[in-house]
């Protein structure tokens, strides 16, 4: 019996063994069964309910600057082409020929006038429209001409944020700004602050992780793990000045969540990273010029007022966004960190990441490095190197995160282990400082589980919703 058959008359879907999906979430106690990380049925549901219908990042537009430039990426399990059109617009197309379903494009990156299927030679334009087939008249007469609209490549909706191209297969999906909701305000402050904006250094790093994709997604708002899992960063003298001080571990600040499952951690610069010993009485603009946010320089901070509101500038000066998680599994991470060198210098981490689920037990991770287009060569190099040394496959911080994701996955493989629950009882509730300009559910103070639980609430909502067959 499939899940959809089991849905029956109402309520949450049931798994093959009769368990209602709703029973895997204890919304009162704020706990989630580890079974969600193991079950192949749940995985297939996620592909349909989440990845076929969510806004997912596929490329940075700077990767495909010229007409015909394309990269091949994944949205969930589906391969897609991200193509720059002749008019400068970007199309995101299913990488599958409408004739027999053959993968159209066999390279990861290139430039093409059109896309021709290797199997029978059907050709498609940069915007996915059907152009023609070999021996078309002899084979089909004028049938394909008449059906050309039906034969175009499947096309996703697209939107841009900080130059990242997001796409969504679901033509009925909410538009991108609605999807971002109150989160757009924070993301634009961090990513669209300068006149010329960000670019990617190149294509993303790609590597595998033997863990369920949710173990990373749900961790984004978890500040608490830093003290134990990243103990090494403290031992190296990189995270904080005092191992017993929560501020040193980035645990004091403002967490934000939204009903849509987006999560944000902002750390309080005033108590955490006072690199230059700036007085808290200096104006936000003065403090930003003295200690520019990650990836920017002092000259760029003077452009901020052209692109951001006063409240957004104050956000960057006082409580800058550290990790910005977008439901289901994307983040932007901006951080001033140690350069990862014994020269003791600091540098910016500027990264966009997403994770492609491959199986319940394995995901693929994509890591883009972002720099300001106007960055000097020196700032660009420093950003690239600091980011690589902190994050991504060789990053000394992320190396240890991988241990937690894979370590939990091992437990979820066992029938006894996966009866355990993940627990999110540490809640601060809605605490919003009077002078704080951002929206969403604001949780100021010690970084607790509120935002993480908001991610799970959204996940549970999407996964347990009753839905019409064939929707």
């Amino acid at each position: 019996m499939t899940i959809m058959e089991a849905v029956g008359g109402g309520g949450a879907p049931r798994l093959a063994d009769g368990t209602s999906l709703g029973d895997l979430f204890d919304l009162d106690r704020r706990e989630v069964s580890l079974r969600v990380h193991h079950d192949p049925e749940i995985f297939e549901m996620e592909m349909e309910r989440i990845f076929a219908r969510s806004w997912l990042p596929v490329a940075h537009e700077s990767e495909i600057p010229n007409p015909g430039d394309f990269v091949r990426r994944y949205m969930g399990q589906d391969s897609c082409l991200v193509v720059r059109g002749d008019d400068g617009g970007i199309s995101v197309l299913l990488n599958a020929c409408s004739h027999r379903g053959m993968s159209l494009c066999r390279e990861e990156k290139g430039r093409a006038a059109n896309f021709k299927c290797p199997y029978h030679g059907w050709a498609f334009g940069k915007d996915g429209r059907f152009m023609g087939a070999p021996f078309e008249k002899q084979m089909y007469g004028d049938q394909l001409r008449q059906e050309a609209d039906r034969l175009r490549l499947v096309r996703a909706k697209t939107a841009l944020l900080g130059g990242m191209v997001f796409a969504n297969w679901d033509e009925n999906a909410e538009d991108f700004q609605t999807y971002l909701g109150d989160f757009g305000w924070y993301l634009k402050a961090a990513l669209e602050r300068t006149n010329r904006g960000l670019e990617a250094v190149g294509p993303p790093q790609r590597h595998i992780m033997r863990a369920n994709w949710k173990l990373l997604a749900e961790q984004l708002a978890d500040g608490y793990h830093a003290r134990a899992l990243h103990q090494s960063a403290g031992d190296m003298g990189t995270l904080g000045h005092n191992a017993n001080d929560p501020a040193s571990w980035g645990l004091i600040g403002i967490n934000v969540s939204t009903p849509g499952g987006h999560t944000l951690r902002c750390i309080d610069m005033r108590v955490t990273y006072n690199f230059e010993g700036m007085s808290a009485e200096a104006s936000p603009a003065e403090r930003l010029a003295a200690v520019p946010p990650p990836g920017a320089d002092a000259a760029m901070t003077r452009e901020f007022p052209q692109n951001l509101s006063e409240d957004q500038i104050r956000l960057l000066a006082d409580t800058p966004p550290l990790v910005m998680g977008l439901f289901p599994g994307t983040d932007f991470f901006t951080l001033m960190s140690v350069s990862g060198s014994e020269d003791g210098s600091h540098g910016p981490v500027m990264v966009a990441r997403t994770w492609i689920p491959r199986s319940p037990e394995l995901f693929e991770m994509l890591t883009w490095i972002l720099v300001e287009r106007d960055a000097s060569d020196e700032l660009r190099e420093r950003t690239k190197k600091t980011t690589i040394r902190n994050f991504g496959i060789s990053g000394y911080i992320e190396q240890d995160d991988a241990e937690a994701w894979q370590g939990i996955q091992k437990v979820a493989q066992g029938p006894i282990g996966r009866r355990l629950t993940s627990k999110y009882q540490a809640q601060i509730g809605i605490v919003k400082p009077d002078d704080f300009g951002g929206g969403g559910d604001v949780h100021a103070g010690f970084s607790r589980d509120d935002a993480q639980w908001a991610w799970w609430r959204r996940y549970a909502e999407v996964m347990t919703a009753q839905e019409a067959r064939g929707a």
């Binding site: 066999r106 390279e107 990861e108 990156k109 290139g110 250094v201 190149g202 294509p203 993303p204 790093q205 790609r206 590597h207 595998i208 992780m209 033997r210 899992l229 103990q231 090494s232 031992d235 190296m236 350069s339 990862g340 060198s341 014994e342 020269d343 003791g344 693929e364 883009w368 490095i369 690239k384 190197k385 690589i388 040394r389 991504g392 496959i393 060789s394 000394y396 992320e398 190396q399 240890d400 991988a402 241990e403 894979q406």
Partner: protein, 192 residues
């Protein structure tokens, strides 16, 4: 410290003209010495002797691993890209080694077990006293914890090695080109 850092920056120049000098025959003494250097390096790393490995590095080392992407045969475009998996100099390698040696780095404690197979070694004279260009094929087999599965990684390495007057060798530059565009291991808490 600052001075060493500057040398590392400048040494990016030396990758010019790689492999354009005279090719050394496998019967020449210097070829055998360099082959032995690579075998020694593999053994030192396989035994997790990171401080020993550090002694085999020139302080001007440039250590890089570009991200690679699948391209069409006649696209005229490089498999390599500007994004890096590793982009290191001596002081950043020292940082990584100190992390493994002296702190609670979960990724390397317990240590991952590795076996490096180095083969297909070719050597050319390079411009500059005692400098040689060396390419080799690397097979890295990695075993973590009690997992029966091993991660396999194959790569070509482009090395520039300096042999001093006393015959001791140091790695001056390494570029690692993996054969996978999606790397099939969970992290690079290992050196290649």
């Amino acid at each position: 410290m600052t001075e060493t850092f500057k040398i590392a920056q400048d040494s990016a120049e030396i990758s010019r003209g790689f492999g354009e000098g005279r090719r050394l025959r496998p019967t020449e003494g210097r070829y055998l010495e360099l082959l032995d250097f690579l075998w020694e390096e593999a053994a030192v790393l396989d035994r997790d002797n990171l401080l020993g490995w550090k002694d085999m590095l020139d302080e001007a080392i440039v250590y890089r691993m570009p991200v690679c992407v699948t391209r069409k045969r006649r696209s005229g475009e490089s498999y390599e890209t500007e994004t890096m998996h590793f982009d290191e100099d001596y002081l950043s390698i020292c940082f990584r080694i100190r992390r493994f040696e002296e702190t609670q780095a979960w990724a390397a404690d317990p240590p991952t077990r590795t076996r490096r197979f180095v083969t297909g070694v070719r050597v050319w004279e390079a411009a500059g006293a005692g400098l040689y260009d060396v390419t080799s094929s690397l097979l890295l087999v990695r075993s973590t914890d009690d997992d029966y599965r091993t991660d396999l990684l194959t790569a070509e390495r482009f090395d520039r090695i300096r042999v001093a007057g006393d015959g001791s060798a140091r790695l001056v530059e390494r570029k690692i080109i993996a054969d996978q565009s999606t790397i099939g291991t969970h992290n690079f808490a290992v050196f290649l």
